[in-house]
């Protein structure tokens, strides 16, 4: 099976969907002539012209709203945020308009739109550019929130997101663009939103993580396997809707659960996951559910401090050992 980068997978997903549906267009800063700040939209302008690949000025609130208005009357916009940190100046559009128009109009209008772009800390870009905002968006009814961890998921989920009739917040891993995965060359590769995936099977403890943290968990699982500890790594892939059945069935099996997220601890999405797991798996739990998160601070710049703040493999290993009462 062909191996593809996460970046190319996203690019192909958009290209295929734009080929398929003339109502799909992409709008954002530097998406056209610059070929994308992270080159995710590379080549799309040449293929689809300025009518469908639209360079927007620095006005996130403005072009997010333009996308919503266009979606209300039948187009299917993809709005790229150069990074999701900039979505905060458009959050009124996403939360007050995109998420609510279907409800406010009692179903007369819906908003088939994708807000996509990279999220999560990159490397040494400071506190304003190093944030995981999925918990903000996952809080909002009326939105779907997608967090792909692999090129395969990125492609299949983005295609589904573009075809979805609801506003989808699609947060890509800023440090995952160069990662590769086997991706079938299939124009109908659709991964349903709301279906999680078991990235590694194991029987002793369930690790729940999304986006980049899936990779950290897989690394930790490898390390723990040397000690005979078999971790099951479960990737919900979409936070809203959340595949609670998959998470619960895994924890039912293992009896132990560690949730790993790169966001902040307070009111982070992992807290919701922990609630759902304890609700559904109370009698199967052998230890309190553990969470591994970033430290509760704005991201520092210095490399050593930045590493210190974010969840590392060793932190996951330590949490697993705690739920197994090994320390």
């Amino acid at each position: 099976m062909p191996v593809q980068s996460y970046r190319d997978a996203l690019n192909h997903a958009m290209r295929e969907e734009m080929d398929r549906d003339p109502n799909v267009f992409i709008m954002g800063e530097e998406v056209g002539h610059y070929n994308g700040a992270y080159k995710v939209t590379q080549g799309l302008l040449q293929r689809f012209s300025e009518r469908r690949v639209i360079d927007a000025p620095i006005a996130e609130m403005g072009f997010a709203g333009v996308g919503i208005g266009a979606a209300m009357v039948g187009l299917r916009p993809i709005i790229e945020f150069m990074t999701f940190n900039f979505s905060l100046v458009a959050i009124d559009q996403i939360v007050n308009n995109a998420a609510k128009i279907y409800q406010m109009s009692a179903g007369q209008f819906h908003v088939p739109i994708v807000f996509r772009g990279p999220g999560g800390p990159a490397v040494q870009v400071g506190s304003q550019h190093s944030q995981a905002l999925e918990s903000f968006y996952a809080h909002v009814p009326g939105l779907k929130v997608v967090m792909p961890s692999t090129a395969l998921d990125a492609k299949g989920l983005l295609k589904s997101a573009i075809r979805d009739d609801n506003p989808v917040v699609f947060i890509e891993g800023e440090t995952l663009y160069n990662t590769t995965w086997e991706v079938p060359d299939d124009g109908e590769l659709l991964i349903p939103l709301g279906k999680g995936d078991i990235k590694r099977e194991g029987s002793h403890v369930t690790l729940i993580a999304w986006s980049k943290m899936v990779w950290v968990c897989l690394e930790a699982a490898k390390e723990l396997a040397k000690d005979g500890i078999e971790c099951e790594v479960v990737d919900p892939r979409t936070l809203r809707p959340l595949d609670v059945d998959l998470l619960a069935s895994s924890v039912q099996k293992t009896g132990r659960c560690v949730i790993v997220e790169i966001g902040w601890p307070v009111a982070g999405f992992g807290a919701e996951v922990a609630y759902q797991v304890q609700r559904l798996c109370m009698d199967a739990l052998d230890a309190p559910i553990e969470r591994v998160t970033s430290d509760d601070v704005p991201m520092p710049y210095a490399k050593n401090l930045e590493d210190e703040v974010q969840p590392q493999v060793r932190d996951v290993v330590a949490a697993v050992r705690r739920v197994l009462y090994l320390d």
Binding site: H204, K226, G228, D283, Y325
Partner: protein, 473 residues
Amino acid sequence: MAQIIGLPKLSPTMEEGVLVKWNKKEGDKVSPGDLIAEVETDKANMDFNIEDDGVLLKFLVKEGDTVKLGAPVAIIGKAGEDVSALVAQAGSAPKAEAAKPAATPEVAPAAKPDAAPAAKPAAAPAPKPQPAQQKSAAAPPPAAAGGKLLASPLAKSLAIELGVDLRTIQGSGPGGRIVERDVRRATGNGHTDPSTAPAAQAAPAADDAAFDEPKTLVRAPRALANLPALSDHDYEDVPASNMRKRIAQRLTEAKRDVPHFYLQRSIDAAPLLAFRARLNELLGDRGPRVAEPSSASSPLKVSVNDLVVKAVALALRRVPECNASWEGDAIRRYTRVHVGIAVAIEDGLVTPVVRDADAKGIGAIAGEVRDLADRAKKRALKGHEITGSTFTVSNLGMLGIERFTAILNPPEAGILAVGAVLDVPVVQNGQVVAGKRMTVSMSCDHRVIDGALGARWLGVFADLIEKPESLAL
């Protein structure tokens, strides 16, 4: 670079296995695909083929040891490589954290597999209450702490399942919380989670003071079985094999979860016996021989059971509603007919499968059944040969059983229990005459098969048996 080889997953449901036999010796050179050992899983004896290149430097388990999935079994590398570090690592496995910071040399030898019959659960001494690092080691038993019993939810449900009195257990978790491993230790069933066995292994290296804890708090039935002198009971606990546990679990689930009902019918077996006699006469010595050399001496004969299997398959083809299973929100109707045959083997039973039995000739079925049964008794069946049946036949007629009912083999919706052919008086044209009758009982999953449907199927089946020539059509 030498590396540890773990026990691979050899069946879909396997969680541990018994290393029955090493097919290689330490020092042997191996290539990917080489058979290095045989492993008894919950389903069958499986081949353990290695996926690496190199020399088997060290075996970490002995024949007869129970090993959990993924646990170290051997070290492979280049000839002459020093494996002591890896041996230590494998031996101290999940206790590695304790050994890591200082790489304490005292830990390694204690955990060496050579020194470790301790690694073998059956021979393990009663595990000590958690020593050394357990902050709670000195805590009183939870029951004593103001009558409040601290146990994890899993420990509680497990205790009910295993019939363990939590008040008799010392908890090893924080604040004396009883956790899964404590319950499992109390039953000697300690190998299903990694926090149990390795912790017990590491125990000798830990604080000796902990050894003074009274041993009576922890009971290990396996150990008792080996040391009857310690027992004040007039019974013996025979450890259940993987297969026994699996059978217990599956049949309990089936009888509990599937709404069974039963249909019985007495069938005139005289034509069937006559038909069988003619077939075997025709076969003579020319019958197909079973591939297995051991049975080459006896030519194949068609049995009543072979004919029953064929009749079952044809009946399923004619009444496909019974070739089905319950899927929660749908009835799955199978397009192919695979008949499972319950075969008794030492310590249990297996159900090998005759695939597409409706399309196979009677001779072919007879040959296949003989082969499958022979290999089942030797535990030489492959995983795919014991899965995928859509209906099962269980025959105790050869053991003189007149009639019985069987428990369904999920997800199948039907199983046919076949009794012996008996000489009985029958009424024919108002006269009592000698006849031959066979009684069959069909167990049905009522979610899939209703009474009338089951009766229809049984009617078709009876018709085929009573007109056996139709089996050859």
